[in-house]
């Protein structure tokens, strides 16, 4: 089931992003954190001590839980908009 709501806006072009070497389809300009979440890629990183999975939480740039690696740089995914060909790493990248 596509969880997109399309009554109000038309999305832009369909593009592909690469998450842990897996292809994911999305629309250009969509919010990365949300796209990962609705694609059931919820486990974005591991917590420092307990090594528990963590994921998107506040969606307003405050909590820092949704950090992923994009082109090997740490960024909060709630403030990133999808671009074609983006390379994203999630999971145990902090080791």
């Amino acid at each position: 089931m596509d969880l997109r709501v399309s009554n109000y806006f038309d999305r832009s072009n369909k593009v592909n992003i690469n998450v842990n070497n897996k292809k994911i389809e999305a629309y250009e300009g969509e919010c990365l954190a949300v796209v990962l979440f609705v694609n059931n890629i919820k486990k974005l990183r591991l917590s420092p001590k307990k090594r528990q999975s963590r994921g998107m939480f506040c969606l307003m740039g405050s909590c820092q839980e949704c950090v992923v690696l994009i082109d090997d740089k740490k960024v909060i995914s709630c403030n990133v908009f999808i671009k074609d060909g983006m390379k994203i790493k999630v999971g145990d990248f902090d080791k």
Partner: protein
């Protein structure tokens, strides 16, 4: 591109109050810069959809309001710095922010801080598992990004946001498995008289509740999520009734939880402004006078940063703070100032009735704090549990900064924003003391983690500032 880096006033935050204060200043000829981490105006409440979304005929009300803010900024030719995360503000005033590639510094004579709020979320065992998100995050997914977060969802916490989110999930074709509210039905009924002072929001509220009622969504009053854990195909949600102790388990895909809002005080704490604790206004807030002047000359606080009054009051609070600035900087006369502020103050008094009612629905019951298990992680960044916090207290830590130093709570990348409120509540409850006595986390730069490569860029060793050698 921003060429000239000096301004009369820098407004931090492009929500409704930031925009109204910026426009008020621009109208009087001041050179204004408005900075925001998002890619457009609107703040959280009217969060703009991504730039690539093309509107088709139908429009959400929030999106319409956002368009208006955006148009006004253009009309008054206000300089904007969107996609810029402020990481350091120093007296004088110097504002440092980073974007995707580098950092930049601006200077201004005055500052209007319109950084709004974060969501207040009281921890429970399992609130850290992926798939548990904030209720506010859920509204952003729905109304700005136009997704439903999952096919099925449990909504928990308290206050009107529960109803709003439930309404939009249903409206957009999702399924709400349950609404779990720490308040009672009587709390809601009691608040009606106050809420009706704002007919527009009241009507919206009725619309939301009606939809929830029609869909026969299971509604758990006086209840909380005690525990959540992953199971095949989703999350097991253990609901506990705080009054009669009864428990029930349901399985859903996502939990969205929120218990109201907390004013953002990062910048005012960093600037060493005076702060006070006011539970009703959202917790620790910067101390302001009637016209929203902070204790630091030249720093004004628009919006909810110095106490929650809600979205309705935001525009007026922006006007009030900027009027104080214009008067202090001699851009308007005493007469004009009195005239402008008299009406605003009266209007704000009216909004306070509404805000107080909302506060009651969003209050944090003692039982909710007591219900947090000892093993629950409180500081998510550093994995610090409730029992580790209480152990530090037992060992003699007497204020929140000592707890921070002994346990590392609040030392992670969020700087304690997510756990400050709950920690204060837990410790105050444990020691049976006032939260004021525990103090608040000292403000530290950077306000958000700063990527070193963006701060430093490429540099040659020879270019590094030389400092005097240490004595041998």
């Amino acid at each position: 591109m921003i060429n000239n880096r000096k301004y009369d006033v820098i407004v931090i935050g492009a929500g409704p109050s930031g925009v109204s204060s910026a426009i008020n200043c621009a109208k009087k000829g001041l050179k204004v810069l408005i900075v925001d981490l998002n890619s457009n105006s609107g703040g959280q409440i009217y969060r703009a959809p991504p730039k690539t979304y093309k509107s088709i005929s139908k429009k959400l009300e929030e999106n319409v309001i956002q368009n208006k803010l955006s148009d006004e900024i253009k009309k008054f030719k206000i300089e904007t710095a969107y996609n810029h995360t402020v990481w350091q503000v120093s007296p004088g005033f110097k504002v440092n922010a980073f974007n995707e590639t580098s950092t930049i510094q601006w200077q201004s004579k005055s500052l209007i801080i319109a950084t709004g709020t974060y969501e207040k979320i009281i921890p429970f065992e399992g609130w850290t598992i992926p798939g548990v998100i904030g209720l506010a995050a859920c509204t952003v997914i729905l109304k700005a990004h136009h997704f439903i977060p999952s096919k099925k969802i449990v909504l928990a916490g308290n206050g009107p946001l529960l109803m709003l989110v439930a309404y939009y999930v249903i409206q957009f074709g999702g399924k709400v498995d349950a609404i779990i509210d720490t308040s009672s039905k009587i709390d809601w009924i009691k608040s009606t008289l106050s809420l009706i002072t704002n007919p527009k929001n009241f009507r919206d509220g009725i619309k939301w509740i009606f939809k929830i009622f029609l869909k026969r969504i299971p509604f758990y009053s006086n209840s909380t999520v005690e525990k959540a854990f992953e199971v095949d195909g989703g999350i097991n949600v253990k609901i506990r009734n705080l009054k009669n102790g009864k428990a029930k388990n349901i399985i859903s895909e996502t939990i969205a939880i929120g218990h109201g809002l907390i004013p953002s005080t990062d910048i005012t704490r960093l600037l060493r402004a005076e702060h006070i604790y006011d539970e009703q206004k959202g917790g620790w807030i910067a101390k302001v006078d009637r016209f929203l002047r902070s204790s630091i000359s030249g720093v004004y606080i628009a919006g909810d940063g110095a106490g929650i009054s809600g979205a309705l009051a935001a525009t007026d609070k922006g006007l009030l703070a900027s009027s104080a600035l214009l008067y202090d900087e001699k851009f308007i006369s005493q007469t004009e100032f009195d005239h402008n502020t008299y009406k605003i103050l009266k209007k704000l008094d009216k909004y306070e009735v509404f805000a107080k009612a909302i506060f009651k629905l969003n209050s944090t019951p003692k039982k909710l704090i007591e219900s947090i298990n000892n093993g629950t992680v409180i500081c998510r960044c550093e994995d610090i549990t409730k029992s580790e916090i209480l152990r530090a207290v037992d060992q003699g830590a007497k204020d929140i900064n000592q707890i921070k130093s002994w346990t590392r709570l609040g030392m992670g990348p969020c700087q304690g924003r997510t756990c400050h409120y709950a920690t204060s509540k837990i410790v105050a409850e444990y020691l049976n003391c006032e939260i004021d006595n525990l103090g608040y986390l000292t403000g530290r730069s950077p306000i958000r983690p700063v990527p070193l490569d963006r701060v430093l860029g490429d540099f040659d060793y020879e270019k590094i500032t030389k400092v005097e050698a240490a004595p041998l």
